[in-house]
């Protein structure tokens, strides 16, 4: 309990750490529940997967927020690219290990989620186990995992800041020269 309180406190003061739900990548109806899986990034790429699920009671569509949810990933086909090194913060989520999905993960509190590690491009499965009212519902979602983008593609707006800053400074110097 104290650990939870500490984690909650840390997350409350570092709120940028929450991820959002992403886009729906699949929906399964089983045992009177509808499980919708959201993922980011879309298309899904090798690396950390921000996975969230929405659980709803059928047929009322009422969102379920008090279920115990665990998620895991498993590679089901051959790799279609080079393995990817995971960042340290999601390294504990090894392939096949079920991790608890929590509401703290996403901004949208109807979702519960976790980071999962997709270490290689290829075909994968996300398994969601929902413990609700004494029963356990399993939902399996196939995923096609693309190779990760080059970091330059992801971070180019930030990398452009240095040349942009230099250009602005040069422009400023030109303005000053003209005004004197």
């Amino acid at each position: 309990m104290r650990l939870r309180a500490a984690v909650f406190l840390m997350l409350a003061v570092a709120p940028g750490l929450f991820a959002d739900g992403g886009l729906p990548v699949g929906q399964v109806e089983e045992d009177g529940l509808r499980v919708t899986l959201f993922a980011a990034p879309v298309p899904v790429r090798a690396g950390p997967l921000d996975a969230s699920v929405l659980i709803q009671e059928m047929p009322s569509n009422r969102p379920v927020t008090d279920a115990e949810v665990r998620m895991s990933v498993r590679q089901v086909g051959i790799s279609t690219g080079r393995p990817v090194r995971m960042p340290s913060w999601c390294s504990s989520v090894a392939s096949g290990t079920a991790v608890p999905a929590t509401a703290a993960h996403s901004a949208n509190k109807l979702l519960v989620g976790a980071y999962l590690a997709l270490s290689e491009p290829g075909r994968w499965e996300v398994t969601v186990e929902v413990g609700y009212r004494g029963g356990v519902t399993r939902a399996v979602f196939p995923l096609n995992v693309a190779p990760p983008p080059a970091p330059l593609v992801t971070w180019w707006p930030l990398l452009a800041m240095v040349p942009l800053g230099v250009a602005l400074y040069a422009w400023r110097a030109r303005i000053l020269r003209r005004s004197t």
Binding site: P15, P24, P87, S88, A107
Partner: protein, 748 residues
Amino acid sequence: MTPEAVLFSWSFDPVPTVGLAVTALIYWLGWRRLHRQVRTRFPVERLFSFLAGIGAVFVALVSPLDAFASWLLIVHMVQHLLLTMVAPPLILLGYPMLPMLLGLPRWLVRDGVGPFLSYPPLHRLGRFLVHPFFAGPLFMVSNLVWHAPGLYELALRSPGWHRFEHVCFLGTAILFWWPVIQPWPSRPALPRWVMIPYLLAADLQNTALAAFLSFFDGVLYPTYEAAPRISDLSALEDQAGAGAVMWVPGSMAFLIPVAVIAITYLSPKRRRRPPEPSAGPRDVVPPRRAFDLLRVPVIGAVMRWKYFRRSLQAVMFALAAVVVLDGLFGPQVSAMNLAGVLPWTHWRGLTVLALLVAGNFFCMACPFTLARDLGRKIFRGNRRWPRALRSKWLAVGLLAGFFWAYEFFDLWESPWWTAWVITIYFAAAVVIDGIFQKAGFCKYVCPIGQFHFVSSLVSPLEVRVREPEACASCRTHDCIRGNESQRGCELDLFQPRKSGNMDCTFCLDCVQACPKDNVGLLAVPPGRDVIADPRRSSVGHFAGRPDIAAMVLVFVFAAFANAAGMVAPVREGEEALRQAIGPAAAGWVWSGVFVLAVAVLPLLLALVCGWLSSEGKNVLVMAAGFAPGLAPLGFGMWIAHFSFHFFTGLLTPWPVVQRIAREIGFGAAAPDWNMPGIAFAGLTGLQILFLNAGMLYTLWVLWRKASAFPARRFPVFLPWAALATLLYLAGIWLIFLPMDMRGTLMMP
């Protein structure tokens, strides 16, 4: 829908949260000054209006509106209305231009944005952008184009495009509302009555679009059809509801100002009060003093309390004692021991963050100082520090040695060694200051202190005199000599001639000693002292101090070498070498490589740059003068690196504390060693930002220093800029590689 879940669905996305908080703070700082000077022009209502506008943007971007915007079009429409109809007029009613300028640091306004603001073509561009004939159509086109299904879907599926859509909405809305509000001191381009047809035209467009959404008999945006249904509304009903939201509240936002303008325009003119004497924007700017942390209420009083520093040191001393005890007697697994997690992850991260936002606060709270004072009481040493050692060369060697030992002995992996390093450090402080007068340990020995001295060259706070004139009449010089109740500066920094943070431990002895209360903790433009390179008390010119230049170079290159030691390609190379020639030989080879990278290569490169930029004359002076210019880049790399470890391993001490509490009988909970890292997908971006800031600052400092040679500005600048660019690219490469969390259980 579950109401609690909805109410708690706040994202607190750091970019809008921090950005809006900083904007509000800057406005408040400027408004506060204007409110004192021209209360009628800047009453409290202006502040409330601006803050309400910022609050509306915050609610739109961070609240549950954003979390549910991709599930319900009605919610998304409310979010857009806040961005286009509510926030912009409220922000503009705060007359934000002058408060925002006055709220920024003076040097930034004068040297940064000032030239652009006074540039006539940009003035004309600004007037054009807010001209009703441009701003009105732009707002309407933006509104129409972004509601086209293709673009709307694109924004729903891509966070980047979604953010761009919001920027378009807010940006064009501010331009649109500008001529309606006409914030002071801008002047209208057209007669006031033109605003009536202007607003009505916008309302017409809004009504047409709203009617289309309301009455269209198909779902325009497929995402909402596929979204989970969490309410009783079908996708089509949701779309019609969104149209109604756009129609009714949207129209009101246009029609209420129309009514106000019409009534004002048609009402008989009342005699206005004569304008205040200081009506122009130039006249209302009051003079201001530099920010002084010691004059901030409460904080200043606490910091000036005589026992403040001693209390900080006592806390740090107690913490160090616990770390040493755990390191010596606790489990010898780094991740399970305080000596493994606290010194190498948290202490380093916190000190560089303090250096970034304030200054050298670690030296202020240094626990070794407590030991030094104890050594003095025991040994009563009164020898003078040896003349031959009165330079930084010993400290340069110790700093490089410290970095080498960290890598060679894998200090992060050994709590026992870490505890001994801390203990030896205490012993050295006691012995050295027990034998010698003043602060020889801090000034000439302590590698941690040297690290902080170099880092604090770019810190925003500096211990310096408040009013130089007051020092002119001073004959006692208590700040350096001390008096009966307070010792003076032990590092021989004479306040009236002190410049920059080099050698300053933020001990505040001079603050306590000054009888005129003329020494403060003042805000300064970071890096200013490096550019000007004045003759500093006890330090002199940097250009005449090759020892300081060498220290800066070791500091800078070690930042990159230390980070490189934690990435896969370097670690794999290390492992391959170990396999090939055996662990002992490989260790020595890597030591050689490390010494080359941290000591030999930087000195050679600096001499080459000095030679190239000086055309072969005064090479050493040139190298020594320009090398400190690389300090911001080095600091940027250190903070990029340490922030990664600090944020990722933020929670790692918790299970260790649980373990210790359990062992000493204060807690029963079993430690959860599987503590998750803080999942911070944007951490790489933050690291790049730190490195970018360091790089830009270094380029600026180097350019300003090169400007001292007007005839050869570029030839002087280019070699150093090339060196900085190479280091920057190496830093980016390192940031892109996954980095090990050494000393924790978060190994990939």
